[in-house]
Symmetry: C2
Subunit: 202 residues, 2 copies
DNA sequence: ACAAATTGTAAGTGTACACTTACAAATCGA
DNA sequence: TCGATTTGTAAGTGTACACTTACAATTTGT
């Protein structure tokens, strides 16, 4: 039955798009990775584009599940949870292929459907992060300085950090050490106002 | 003569890649935009890839020239200069097609030459920004708090901010207003430690 | 057990693309 | 002015790709 096949095949399709990008992920290549013939894929989706849209959705859901799990494991919410997610991202960043697919999708963003799918995904992503920032700020309960960015804006900034981190993995710009610092030092600075509490004049 | 032609044609090629991305920018489409036949392009460059590499270089140089000009206009260096560049980026962001080409290149990063060209470009970009951050920090001459990111790290963070800003332009994620704040509030926070000097308890 | 729907295999089809060839028109160097 | 090089035009070529068709092998419902 179709739905069973989709469950087995979709992850492989998604990985294919993540590895190869949209254009290089030919239907033949995708089929081979799945161990089926091309027409089998076309029985599950009407076109390559539809396969890609399904892949975006799948990868997004996978990423989300991982984060949710991290959140639920670290006694409910809070600073600790955020730290765990950041640590996880610093280490396993890009493992799900989320950003690879985003990069692939960006060059196909002239297509309204693909742009829409990416937008939807990225906005959920943003909302999720902004919520975490909110939680942390409520807990630390310091009054925010004037002109300190809203958690909304901060979340976009954090997404930006993730973008360079992933570009680094793609292009080898700086390396794992600095990538880690990006997720800890810079992220801290954006999230809580008192990251600079121990101000020493050396 | 060839070199004259390159001067006229290369900007159009670059714009073509920026508009269409690597794969969709077919040699036929590029030729038409330049008002010449395909084989004329192949008399200037041996392959499409070589055209793309030339385009990367051209766009990078154009961007650099703009920034240098801004710097030289605003009485030497300093906070003012940085503010001007940030303001310029907030307004004209993506006009040169720099980021579009980066996005296009990222999906072709499996090719060692293209990856190399992007890496080189991005590293120069980073060096330039890091230098500006350095200058500003020296001028404000406040002792940096412990664990405050180095100007090097900060520069990567700022590049990340630019990335989301450009993704926004591509996908319409948030809009011009927040894009502006990204370049002012968030950037300020990363560059100087005392962005939160007027801490008011509302 | 047997017709009907589903799955697997293999071979196309049309087209779009990177890149080439052939050759006429113009330009240039002497 | 004339041979040689450069420039412009037009028409290919081979191939890789999205997508299809035909049909045999299975599975399924009754």
């Amino acid at each position: 039955m179709a739905s069973g096949d989709v469950k087995r095949i979709l992850p492989l399709i998604a990985q294919g798009f993540a590895d190869l990008g949209y254009r290089r992920a030919t239907t033949a290549a995708l089929a081979e990775r799945c161990g089926v013939r091309e027409n089998v894929l076309y029985r599950l989706w009407p076109s390559k584009k539809e396969m890609f849209l399904a892949a975006i959705d799948f990868i997004w859901q996978s990423s989300m599940e991982i984060w949710q799990e991290i959140l639920s494991k670290s006694g409910a919410t809070g600073d600790e949870a955020a730290r765990l997610i950041l640590e996880y991202e610093a280490k396993h960043h890009g493992e799900t292929g989320l950003y690879k697919v985003i990069f692939a999708g960006l060059t196909e963003a002239h297509d309204a459907q693909i742009a829409g799918a990416l937008r939807k995904m990225y906005r959920s992503f943003h909302t999720f992060i902004a919520e975490q920032v909110e939680v942390i700020r409520r807990e630390t309960s310091k009054t925010l300085p004037a002109k300190f960015p809203t958690s909304d804006l901060t979340a976009w900034g954090l997404l930006g950090i993730s973008m360079v981190a992933n570009m680094d993995m793609e292009l080898k710009l700086f390396g794992a050490r600095e990538r880690g610092l990006l997720f800890t030092q810079i992220a801290q600075l954006l999230i809580v106002p008192n990251a600079q509490r121990d101000s020493k004049s050396d």
